[in-house]
């Protein structure tokens, strides 16, 4: 059956005293199953194959570049004194930031009972995990001798005779990012198990059935299991909510705990977290708007879902803008010459082009979302979300490069120039991200069917109550 939105049905209109429907049309439970499972069951479209080939080729390029880097040494990058952090760290912070939306949608919006999260949380969580995988690549190769990256772990080493230094934010970062990756993976997988059971039960092919049977751990849908499962889900959400806030806080400590002008500020943790949510939602929108069209999921991922995410973009974008202003205010108010220079240098120095790109993309472009027309028009959403992605990459570029390139010692100042390897790795990391995301679309349930069905059941229940004016019959 067709899942196009019936003409005239608009769930972005607010009706007082009534909840807007989150699943559109005369949809049944079975329709939801069909719509989601078909995404993985039907033969791959030409668009998917083309996209996958491109993404996979870029991934191969990333792999070859990493081999080239390890074989030759970190000199192949543009990292030079005094800018030793360079693009790898810019890319790391960028990808970690992207990886914040998924768990935020799953955990924090779950705790706030924002039911519109149900249609988008699965894809957003998948995106989180793939973004963390991209993020983890960069510090791993940035350590120089990548084959010794395991020295970060606190293990009894017979070569070093020493332990990691637990007062260093860089080590906190190792723990934060790996914990975040692990917990996000558990959360994502646990949420997927009932849907994997649906995949299993729909499989005609014996091997496919067996593979999904193993993946879903023999899930049967027993009410006892559901009860513990929901409890575990709520606990994981409650644990992941502070975790997601802690991760970018700790990433910001990498900068804020140092003495470099422009980094050594207490505003960094909230500023980084807001920026991470901002960039994460932008990436979710960049992916979901085309995906809902191509995968025929417009009835489940409705315009209302997109509009809500645009509102979050507008809010977090404005917070980020406020943070940019506050940084300047504190630099002036603090009366530290090095700080004052650092910020003037950002806005009017050799990296002014990057700074103003960042401000236009992050602060000015989302302001269009004050208009409802913009929040509900998919192509505008995609364009703005791509602007935000670019702007957030430049934000990290400005923070890392402009502060390092001109710090206390003018004789050591330098201008950073990326090499072709820097460019290749940035582009290649998108290859890794999209390869994983496209594989996910073809093999795993892209929407949380069980939760959407529960939302539908509730929606029908409410409609039933309104229609008949009866009290809820909750038993004894």
């Amino acid at each position: 059956m067709s899942l196009a939105i019936p003409n005239g049905l608009d769930n972005t209109v607010e009706r007082p005293g009534e909840r807007a429907p989150l699943v559109l049309g005369e949809t049944t439970y079975h329709d939801i199953t069909e719509a989601v499972c078909k995404v993985a069951e039907r033969p791959p479209s030409k668009g998917w194959i083309g996209g996958f080939l491109v993404a996979f080729a870029l991934l191969q390029m990333l792999g070859l570049l990493i081999v080239y880097l390890i074989y030759t040494g970190v000199g192949v990058w543009g990292n030079r004194a005094p800018i030793f952090w360079g693009w790898p760290i810019v890319n790391f912070v960028f990808w970690v930031g992207i990886g914040h939306a998924g768990t935020l949608i799953s955990a924090i919006l779950f705790l706030f009972r924002q039911e519109w999260r149900t249609s988008i949380n699965r894809a957003a969580e998948a995106m989180t995990i793939f973004a963390v995988a991209c993020a983890g690549t960069f510090p791993g190769i940035h350590v120089g001798r990548a084959w010794l990256a395991f020295w970060l772990a606190p293990y009894p080493s017979l070569n070093l005779w020493m332990w990691p230094q637990f007062r260093s934010p860089l080590l906190w970062d190792v723990f934060a990012v790996s914990t975040y990756g692990t917990v996000s993976l558990l959360f994502w997988y646990m949420g997927m198990v009932p849907d994997l059971a649906t995949f299993r039960d729909r499989s005609k092919n014996k091997y496919r059935r067996m593979a999904y049977g193993i993946l879903c751990l023999g899930w049967s849908g027993s009410s006892r299991h559901w009860m513990r499962y929901e409890k575990a889900y709520a606990i994981l959400a409650a644990l992941a909510a502070p975790l997601v806030l802690s991760v970018h806080t700790i990433v910001s400590f990498d900068f804020a705990v140092s003495q470099v002008p422009g980094w050594h500020t207490t505003i960094f943790p909230p500023y980084f977290v807001a920026g991470a949510i901002f960039s994460g939602f932008a990436m979710v929108l960049t992916l979901m708007v085309p995906a809902r069209k191509m995968l025929n999921l417009e009835k489940l991922i409705t315009i209302r879902h997109l509009e809500n995410m645009c509102k979050i973009i507008l809010a977090t974008g404005s917070i980020v803008g406020l943070a940019y202003g506050t940084e300047f205010f504190i630099a002036w108010y603090g009366q530290v010459p090095a700080e004052q220079f650092a910020f003037l240098n950002r806005a009017f120095g050799p990296y002014a082009w990057a700074y103003w790109t960042m401000v236009s993309c992050n602060v000015i472009s989302p302001q269009i979302f004050w208009f409802k027309k913009a929040r509900t028009t998919p192509w505008i959403i995609v364009v703005v979300s791509i602007f935000v992605n670019i702007g957030m990459w430049f934000e990290r570029f400005v923070i890392v490069i402009s502060s390092l390139s001109r710090d206390y010692l003018p004789s050591a100042w330098a201008y950073f120039t990326p090499t072709w390897v820097d460019w290749g790795m940035l582009i290649g990391s998108f290859g890794l991200f999209f390869t994983l995301f496209l594989l996910f679309c073809r093999t795993l349930p892209v929407i949380n069917m069980a939760e959407v069905k529960a939302t539908l059941a509730k929606q029908e229940h409410m409609a039933h109550l309104h229609g008949h004016g009866e009290e809820a019959a909750e038993g004894h």
Partner: protein
Amino acid sequence: MSETKIETTVHGMMAEFTTVDSLLSACRRIRDAGYTKTDAYTPFPVHGIDKALGIKPTALPWICLIAGATGTCIALVMQIWMNSIDYKYIISGKPYISLPAFIPVAFELTILLASFGAFFGMWALNGLPKFSNPMFTDPRFDRATDDRFFLYVDASDERYDANGVRNLLADTGSDYINEVVEDDSPKEVPKPVFLIWGLAVAASLVPLICILTMRVTNSSKPRFHVFFDMDFSPAKDAQQVTSLFADNRSMRSDVPGTVARGQMEESLDMLTGIDVEALTMSDPPRVQRLVRAYMLADDEAKAEEKEAVEAAEAAPASVMDTTPWVEKNPLTVDAELLAQGQQQFAIYCSVCHGMDGYGNGLVNQRAQSINAPTWVPPASMHQETLYADKYPDGKLFSTISNGIRKMPGYAGQIKLKDRWAIVAYVRALQKSQNASMDLVPESEKAAVEAAVADAKAELKRQAEEAEKAAAARKQTQS
């Protein structure tokens, strides 16, 4: 088709419903009829079903709490032990146990372990993974994960009676009721799965076999160097010339202020050979200089101290040495220490002072034979002025460490404890040349006497042999 009779076991009765409401009302009917071993199977969590079925709350939150608390404890103990006890880091003068710095990792590990508790605890309480379930034998049950709701009454329930349950369920409005049976025929895993599994296991062994083979076989080809400049580092050897430094030497001295590992572990007495407590009374500025030179690795103080020691040596014999030297070796003198001292003496001292300590080592012999004009003959250890009562252990140690006249200081070459071992050995060497049997304890006397007799006999035999050989030589010459 074969006619084998398949044994079946009845597990219970299931009924299918199409809506949540009909399932809930059926659940209440079944519960009110007194059935307890019941369960419902639904494609999504149904609100209120735990009440309708009488399901008890879960202990999962407690598991999480315990796991989370374990995470906190592990993180704190790990960080305090690693950074404050086992390997102390001094960071910006902060206390070794600086809890605020340990919060982030403690927080992360708490979350991590609590999440493991929630995730693994939930599967364990649910008895999953469990791939075989009698419900799965009914093809209609496939829709339990799609759009159908199933109510199930277990056959082990006290009130279970096939017809009674069937009637009750039919009464609740279910349009499909079926007995859940599981046939006891063996469940076969398809053969290709075993094939793939076997291939995967075999493939995973290939790298291991390769490594093991390479470890036991020889190859005539040179090793492949992945990182050539790491295997053959361009580092200079000790005596080579380099263009990196103005003086063209590749051998560099320590950076000023370097403190080697283990250097700070010993007392100042042991480092200098001077009784520092006594020196505090007589010469406090010198104590300060010693602390700077030896404990703080201050090179200026070291140079001053060296000058002072040299000046004291150069002073005429009439000037009394007022330094309160350590009288007794601070190490426990036993056979082991003497053996250690003997070994070090043989390596470093005997070349000049001779193995016997009479000052006629190979270097001295050579210097005498070529009449080296600047040669100062090494002292004999066996002069009375060098005995312990005139030349205390601490002074001897200081001489070994700092040098005297033409002899350089050996502090840079010989380890601290080895220098003290040499002091102990020199004392033994001095005694050996004019020792009386009174010094030997009663229990050892017999053994020593026997050894002396053996040694004398051996010497005599060697002397006779040498005589014989000389006589023989004379004969052949004449």
